[in-house]
Structure formats: C-alpha cells, structure tokens
C-alpha cells in the first residue's frame, strides 16, 4: 500500500520540502543584499502546486480574482467577483480539469443578533471570564463590522463551492471557490450548465439563504414547505427552540428538577465555575468525557 500511496497531498508535501532548500539557498548566495532575502521568505514554507493553480486562475480571470488564501499543504481558497463566478466555474472544470463537483453553499457573515442569548446564565458567565474579546465583538455587531474568513470578503453573503480533480492518482487536488453575493440583488449566475450536480445545491442555498441563481431551471424548496417564510440558515433567523428553552450548557451544572433552577444558578455557580476555568491548562480526558456525557443527554431533549 505504501508504495501506491503517492497521493496529491504527499506529492505537494514533497514539492514544498523541495522548494524549501531553494529559498534557503538564496540568501546564502545573495548575502550582501539585505532587502532580497526578507522578501523571499515572508511566509516560510511554500506550496508550489497550489500557487501554480492560483497563478493560472489569475491569468485566466484577471480582475475577476479578488483574493486568495493558501494553507500550505492543506488547501486553497480563491475569491472571485460575482461577475466572474460563472467563468470561474467553467475555467475550473474545463481548463483545470476539476471535473468533480463537491458542494455549493453559502455563509452569512453577519454576527448573530441574538448573540449568545440562547445559552444559560452559567454559560455566559463562563464566556465572560474566558474571552473578553468576544464580548467587545458582540457589542459592535452592526452589519458594518463583518469579519470574513479566508480570502476576505466585502458582502454579507458569500457563496462558496468546492470542486476537485479526482481519479488521477498523485495529481488529485481540490479547491474552494468563494464569491461575494451583491447585497442589493442577492443573485448569482447558476452553475447548473457547468456542473449538473449544482442543481440541488443551489436549490438548498436558495431556500436556506434566499440567494437567487439566475438561469437555474427550478429553484423549488428542497426541505421546507412551499409557503415557508424566512431563510433558516441566515444568522437573523432565530432558532426558536433556543429562545424558549435555555440550553443546559457546556458545563456540568444541570440541576435536579426539584432544585429551582431559575433562582439559584447565577450567584452560586460563578465561583464554582471560575475555579476549573483557572486550571484549564491541566486537563484530563476523564473530565472531558463526563462533560460530554451530560451534554449528550441534553441533546436528546
């Protein structure tokens, strides 16, 4: 087996390690020049195969490529403009031979207006002590303060799709294409003419996020009843179960029904909870599993 396993990632591994000596060797030759080596190694290891993919993309789409991100030896993200979305898919399939369609979906980058209100009091206390940064982020939860992920973004909604080149041992690769969906129209061109499989994925994205795909044959709902109002995976769509009933929480503090859970929780539990929090560096798997056990029980209710 080990002889056969010259898969894409390992090859990329090898490519990256092969690239390293070159970048190391460069400063030795050009030692008197101070500026060059600094430019040459800003990010440490390089991922030549993925950079080559990115280069070809930029060559083909020009301004259509807005941003990109490479996790060395792991993955490649390319963000394109809404106008270039169709071309990007076509280029990936026909030129890069990424003929395998993984999935297509969307992300709503707006921070949830409900914050962590779904959590119990105990959780919020824990949260406050554990992470102050998050609180400040939650306060400024206006739409203007969108924080995007890899390859950046300008709009509230982003559609992302995964395509791959498979069945070609040693040369397989996958990449994630992202696109900003214009806030005013919330429409993109469909991919169904490129990847037939994107049909259902676009239907799902349409019903879950309310994004239109122009040219799609029939954007009927996949899961929800036809007259359903709202788009469940948007961040401003409340999860009703969590609004009416607080989540038991991540900490093992679930009380017995007789103990009046409403009154007793905030004051009592805060000193209790701060002590394990302080010793969080010292961990053991048994503690972890007991927490897990209780939370699993909660999930079934």
């Amino acid at each position: 087996m080990s002889e056969q396993s010259d898969n894409a990632e390992e090859k990329l591994d090898a490519a990256a390690t092969a690239a390293e000596p070159e970048t190391v060797a460069e400063p030795v030759v050009a030692e008197p020049v101070v500026a060059e080596p600094v430019v040459a190694e800003p990010e440490g290891p390089k991922d030549e195969a993925r950079e080559e993919l990115l280069r070809r993309f930029i060559e083909a789409l020009g301004d259509g490529v807005l941003d990109s991100h490479i996790e060395v030896d792991k993955d490649l993200w390319i963000r394109v403009s809404a106008d270039a979305w169709f071309d990007a898919g076509e280029f990936a399939r026909n030129q890069l031979q990424a003929r395998y369609f993984g999935f297509l979906s969307a992300i709503d980058w707006m921070p949830s207006p409900f914050g962590r209100s779904m959590d119990s009091e105990v959780d919020r206390l824990l949260e406050a002590s554990a992470d102050e940064v998050e609180n400040s982020a939650a306060e400024g939860s206006a739409v203007a303060g969108l924080e995007h992920g890899f390859a950046g973004g300008d709009t509230r909604f982003q559609v992302f799709a995964r395509v791959a080149h498979v069945g070609d041992q040693g040369k397989n690769f996958g990449l994630t294409l992202k696109v900003d969906v214009p806030d005013d129209t919330l429409a993109l061109s469909t991919w169904t003419k490129i990847y037939a499989g994107s049909d259902w994925h676009e239907r799902e994205t349409h019903e879950m996020f309310g994004i239109d795909f122009t040219g799609h044959p029939a954007l009927r709902n996949m899961y929800l009843p036809t007259g359903f109002e709202g788009h469940p995976l948007r961040k401003d769509f409340p999860l009703l179960a969590r609004q009416v009933k607080p989540w038991p929480g991540i900490v093992d503090v679930e009380q017995m029904p007789s103990n009046e859970p409403e009154e007793s929780s905030p004051e009592e539990s805060s000193p209790e909870e701060s002590s394990p929090e302080e010793s969080s560096t010292e961990e053991s798997s048994t503690e972890e599993s007991s927490t897990e056990q209780s939370s699993t029980e909660g999930a079934d209710t």
């Binding site: 087996m1 396993s5 898969n7 894409a8 990632e9 792991k74 993955d75 003929r99 395998y100 369609f101 993984g102 999935f103 979906s105 992300i107 709503d108 949830s112 959590d119 824990l126 554990a130 992470d131 998050e134 992920g149 890899f150 992302f160 995964r162 498979v166 069945g167 041992q169 397989n172 996958g174 994630t176 990847y195 037939a196 499989g197 049909d199 994925h201 879950m208 996949m222 899961y223 929800l224 469940p232 995976l233 769509f237 999860l239 969590r242 991540i250 394990p276 010793s279 969080s280 961990e283 798997s285 503690e287 972890e288 599993s289 927490t291 897990e292 939370s295 699993t296 909660g298 999930a299």
Partner: protein, 390 residues
Amino acid sequence: MTAVTDRQKLQYIAAKAADSRVNVELETEGMILNMGPQHPATHGTLRIVAKLDGEQVVAAEPIAGYMHRGYEKLTEVRTYPQITALVNRIDWLGSFANEVPFILASEQLMGIEAPPRAQWIRTLLFEMSRVANLILFLGDMGVQLGAVTPAFFAFRDREFVLDQIEAVTGGRFHPNFDRIGGLKDDLPKGWLAETKNVMNKVRSFCDQIEGLLMNAEVFATRTRGIGVIPADVAMQYGLSGANARASGIDWDLRRDAPFGFVYPELDWKVWTHPDGDSFARFWVRLQEVRESTKMIDQICDGVPGGPIMAKVPRIIKVPAGEAYVTTENPLGEMGFYIVSKGELAPFRVKIRSASFNNVSITPWLLRGVYVPDIITILASLYFILGDIDR
C-alpha cells in the same frame, strides 16, 4: 386436423396480440406514479414522483426533506464536543464514520493530532462501521429483487459487528466515541481477538452473498446494464465512494488523502469496475467489505500501545479559520467545512454528505428506465435518508 386448427387459432391470437400491442402503444397516455414517501425501496422517506409513458419513465423527481433536521443550524449553537452527538445521526448505519471527518476538521483547525494508538483505533472503528453499513446493503439489495433470505443473513451477521462496536463504545448505533485529540476510551480486554472472529464470519457472509445472490441469473439480468452512469456524469454530479468507483473512477480518499488514519500502513486494494451499472455498484461494495475485513485483521495485529488522548484544553476553543476535511465514508465522500471565529461554537458548518450528491443524479438516471428498474437502481445507489436531508 385438430393441430391445424390449433395453429390457425394461435396465429389468429398472435396477430390479434400484435395488433393490440400496436394499439396500446399508440394509445398510451402519460401517467404520474408516486412512490413513497413510505416505499420500502427508499430506505426511509424519499418520495419519487415519476411521469410514465407505459412502463417507461419519462421524468422522475425525487422529493427529499421529510427528515430534515437542520443540523447545520443546530451546530451553530453547540460547542464542538457536543456536535459529535448530532453528526452521529446523519448516516445512522455507520455513525462512527460521521464523527471522524468533523473531529479531523476541528483537529486541523486546532493544530493537534491524535496519538498513534488513537489513530489506529479510529481507523479500526471507521472500518467496522463501514462493514456494519455495507453488510446491510448487500442483504437489502436482494430484498429489492425479491430475494428475502440475504436480508436475514445480513441482519444476523451485522449484529456481530454491532456487538463489537457496542463493546467498545457503549452504543450500537450512536457511539459518540470520537473526541477532539483522540478517543473517549481504550479498547476492552480480549476485544481484538473476538473482532478477528467476527471478521471471519463477515467474510463467509460475503461468500454466501456472492453464491446466493450475485451469481444468480435473475440478479444478473435485473442489474447488468441497468442504470449505467458514465464516469464524466458521475463526476459532474459529485458521485463518490463505491458509486464513483463502479463507474471506473479510481478514487478512494482512504488511499488518496489518509490524514488522521493509518491506511498507508495497511495492505489493501481499491476496487473499481468499468461498467457503471447496478451490478458494478453491488460488486464494488462486496469487494469493499472484503477489503475492510482484511484491513481490520491487520489493525488488530498492529495496533500500538500508548495514550489514546492528546493534550487538549478542558474547554475547547477552536482558533479562527476555515477547514474542509473529507473522508471516505461507507456511503461516499463526507466532508465538513468548518468556519470558526475562535468561539466555543462554530460559526458555520457545512455538511457535505455523500447521499445528497448521490441521489441528485436520479432525475438524470431514471429517465428512460422501466418501472421495476427504479427500485434496483435506487437500491444500488445506496443512500440513507438522514444523509440526504441532514
């Protein structure tokens, strides 16, 4: 004398029949056939609305969503350790296999790796859930063709595998055993030897199925050349797993992207079939179960000692970032795309389940087939409803 009249009579009847056949063909009108949502061939609640012309399907539309549970939304209000309990229930026949890609994606974001022993046992349980899952497919395929016996064999022998899974994890169907950084518990004593016994039973089950079902003439006529998927179409629709390999695509994530597993250290083979029909899909899965039993035997012999848990903070916060990890699940490629903002709960989780893509090909695939073949084709595509609807 009588013979002649008989022949005349027969000729007359034959002519009439030919006439009537022509007439029937001319007079057919479209008919809508509704299968499901409770049809036994759909393994749950998939509904298929087929427009027929006589016995032939003109257009077919699968309607999913009877089992939509909204896991992608629910993950946003749960902590990472809690989510394994959810994703367990996506493909309920191979539940441990659902946890693994999620855990691997989280581990990739956190930059931790499970210790070797945990990786070996993870691979072991991953393959056991594949065996438990695919055994049922092998038996169920017979039921769809009218042979009930293989199903009883399948349920009998699957129980041995589930018993083994239960002995380790405590759950027959929903182990919830995988953890970020390792596993919940170690293997019980004497378990490995018993597992090898069970694998012998599974292998003899495979031989039984091959003799009883696959070599039967009825099976061949009902599946050979039925529901052919060319490789390029399979890729366009994102077919994965055995469905893709049955179309001749030589692609198995266990070989091509074995991160977090020990597959490179095992001796096994990826089986493909060039035909792309229902028979090929059955055949590939049968070989896959055999390969899995071989792998499990090797893991039982080779599992190293050591800890089963890496050092993980007690409260798990995943650093901000994005990761997409896929694994070769019993039904095909399953992936988790996790967007983290450094909080206790993920910001967005996209679950790429195999069955969703595998079933999305049915409108294309069912066009032009005969009504009885709908059932064999659906059975050979092999989907789990929870894996479509999530």
